[in-house]
Symmetry: D2
């Protein structure tokens, strides 16, 4: 069997030349202050074994990776009904563009661009109970870590810089595709994006998607086997902002990234891998993290293609 620990150690060394080529997200001060030199990686095998390297236990802002978990929650409650509110096609535009949203009558292209995540969350908020608690509890359960929580400073900072997301929410609401009050929706959305998790947390949280929706470790099915496959398909075609094609070409596995520098990748049938490095490429994906995953899938022959 492959020596995953040695592989992670090798990768942590091999990615060093890639530092300094990206740019830490700075649209809110709280994210901009994270040191560019951070790097962590965690692998969670279906067998239960796990491996880590670097800053893999340090929590960071998961940002858009939260969209994946909220989609899971929504699909587990509403099934395919979610696709009446949001499409499952790549957008071909930036994650925060309003152009297609206007041209397509307020129906976002997929759940991983911002308006799609807002529509997905809006649906979840239709359930009884406190949506923030529901999301936090779900992430704690997935990560098997009761310490998982939101970072109030990041959340408030994002709320104060949420005009573009508000524009999307109001545009969708004008088309009848948002039910909730926009202020409440945005607050919940910033709450979800500001959740902090470590690579270790994320790798654990991603495991069920690699194992047919059911995880022996969690002793639970979070979604059905068919839903797990389908979420993976949506991740592969829509999960990496406007570079899904390049990512599929280079790395070759379903993944979801966040502007906090995290990427959660799913290797169907085998494992989940989380990586964190704050410098972003021009599309908003972790520069070093993508390189690390490319090495990982190449060396483990785990590209799905």
């Amino acid at each position: 069997m492959l020596d995953y620990q040695a592989l992670l150690d090798y990768i942590a060394e091999a990615v060093q030349p890639h530092f300094g080529k990206g740019k830490v997200a700075n649209y809110i001060p709280a994210l901009g202050r994270v040191p560019a030199s951070k790097f962590g990686m965690a692998v969670q095998l279906a067998s239960g074994e796990s491996f880590t390297v670097g800053d893999a236990f340090e929590p960071f802002s998961i940002q858009s990776i939260s969209k994946l978990f909220v989609l899971e929650l929504v699909m587990s409650h509403f099934g395919d009904m979610v696709w009446t509110r949001v499409g499952k096609e790549p957008s071909g535009d930036r994650f925060n563009s309003l152009i297609k949203l206007e041209m397509e009558q307020g129906v976002p292209r997929n759940p991983f661009i911002n308006p799609g995540a807002l529509a997905t969350l809006d649906l979840l908020m239709g359930l009884k109970g406190d949506t923030k608690h529901r999301i936090r509890n779900y992430l704690r359960f997935l990560a098997m870590n009761e310490a998982v929580d939101t970072d109030a400073a990041v959340m408030n900072s994002e709320l104060a810089h949420s005009d573009l997301n508000r524009a999307m929410a109001h545009l969708m609401k004008s088309h009848g595709n948002i039910d909730q009050d926009v202020d409440t929706l945005l607050e919940t959305y910033c709450y979800q994006c500001a959740m902090t998790m470590s690579c270790k947390d994320l790798a654990l949280a991603g495991l069920p998607l690699a194992t047919g929706g059911y995880s022996a470790l969690h002793d639970a099915a979070v979604v059905s086997a068919a839903q797990a496959k389908r979420i993976n398909a949506v991740m592969l075609t829509c999960g990496m902002y406007d570079s899904v094609g390049s990512f599929a070409y280079r790395v070759g596995v379903p993944a979801k990234s966040g502007v906090g520098g995290g990427i959660l990748a799913v290797i169907p049938g085998k494992m989940s891998v989380a990586v964190w490095s704050p410098e972003l490429d021009q599309f908003g994906n972790s520069y070093v993290g993508t390189a690390a995953l490319e090495m990982f899938t190449s060396m483990t022959h785990s590209s799905i293609f």
Copy 2:
């Protein structure tokens, strides 16, 4: 081992209720005359075994599926240089839209939308020798069938209806992204699209992409193992016009479709599958063919997700 023949027989029966829901392409008369009731399917295993059902030996117009084989040819000659002429991201627009092409300075989003296929072909035409012969010979080799040829009536009919493709070619040429004379380029493009192949031919032709670029049956490597993976990745994210997300969600394997009603699917490491049924859905993909492939990957558990 799975009884593939029984499975194909079952699928040919099970898809019957899906006939009559799509529409045969009629933008040129030669395509519009094909009977809507045609259905064929062929499976080519890596082991060499193959299975067919229905009209699997009847040649039909491969249309855009030719883009896949031309991409292979170009990558085998020019490697990653092709990506200086065309991107590898989904477009989010129809396959024949000029909007993004104008906004992105004449660089098409990927090799599977029409302008991308034109740019790819343009690069191939830079090689010495007769490009039409090169393409025809390559398809004959892949299909192991010397009878593979273009349909001159279809080719001429398409040439006579090629204004939109000419518009794209001239727009790209105005940006310096087409080298060849546009008339010659268009004629060659229509030649390539008018090639006729059967499901059996296509399944054989697709095998190398399922087996790391090398095919024992062909006793040859058509592309490198890395190139095969990457072509599959581009197919999955860009191969099904503007419904790549839905196709990945439902079927879950890399595939390329054509408006002649054919779809060639690649199941990495295992097999290639070709299906033909002329009725198209609103995106230009075979309606019944998609349903048949969905049944196939579901029953064989061969979704890559």
Copy 3:
């Protein structure tokens, strides 16, 4: 001298066949309840003489015509500085489209599309004092009518249907082109749009633009002579939503319309003309009102072309 009264009487008769071809705005109930059969027209000559026909003294919702008066106020206080916040080119898109606004970094094309009116109002709100009072008092002064006021029911109804305008405001704010709080801005905007004035009021209010910015009747200059010319130019190229070209072609004078069915036209050097008829054409301009103005400028030879 032309018998204006006879002309207005003639026009009121001649437009009868045009009723029933448009559609009363119904996006808010308060507007939808206005009888489609209303028709009024008022002419205010530079000499001080005025003429009216039909429902010319009945107040109606001026809606977007308010954008013209707010632009006057802003230009009188800020001069050409307004053009740092908003352009003066026709948009080529609908008045409520976000597409160009996103592509042009939150700078609206002109002050007469909704985002442009919001940016203009935002600038005005930077002045000390109550902006609502300032606008109301200005309209009362222009109309020489202390009864001019907002319709609270219309204002509140518009506020409750303001998602699209909110989307624009937030999009502009994300680009730094809105200073005020969006809620306050929208409330003031709905206040301005819900002002009710009669044709008689509007014709009087428009007179200064026809007479070099100064009006002997008002005994005041509301803008400079150069500013009056320029506002007229912006009206002609941008004042009639997405049919400025057709309106210039048919009617040939600067004008501003509102979805309440009013149109205020300025005939430079001579007079101002207001018309009201609630049925709208597909572009949101009064169907019968446009026909009436076409007759008027044709019979008085007052097209500026």
Copy 4:
């Protein structure tokens, strides 16, 4: 009466500081070789009197100004039927953009953007006889100058750089909005654009539009009085590329410009004015020419607003 000669002499002096701020068109070598320092201006009064200054008798490439004369020809033969092939609204995009053309099914926004001029010319070519001769003879008649002709070098150079225009023609043809063979259409279009005329020629040629379609000097009506008004209206709203609003704001009269540096302005009821200076602003309009016209209409109080 105003001393027009003194005014032109003054303007020729006053524009000197504006030289060097624009850029001579260089997309074809023949245009790029014209000295940037050229400046000419000609005024043609309705009375028959005319005045000139500078290089007013030197022929230059009229380029897009030809669109105006071809529109006259088409309207005189086909009347309002032209509006079934082309709109009369400003486009809000660059003169050579394909985006709106695709979104609006191949119907160009107006006759003064390139696709609109192609559609207009296509209609004219439906008449029996040699279209090139028809255009040349019409311009000779309007300019009262048998020496008016096309510049074969410019024409051929433009033909060799016509990919973008070809793209538009093919896009329109794919929508059934071009009847002629695209090669012939393009050749005729380049012929029309390569006509050379002097300011003196152009001022004479523009006179009928200033005098109700009929010109005593020419002793002929080239279009009806209503058509003249309407052409002026289309010029004002669409004649200056993507800065019609700014031009109306600054200069305030209908005008058509060309990338050769010429502008022909019409002052309804009074006169026509032509100016030439090769440096262009960012929108493709003569930089110095616009400044000269702004001075002219300001000092003669001839803005139509």
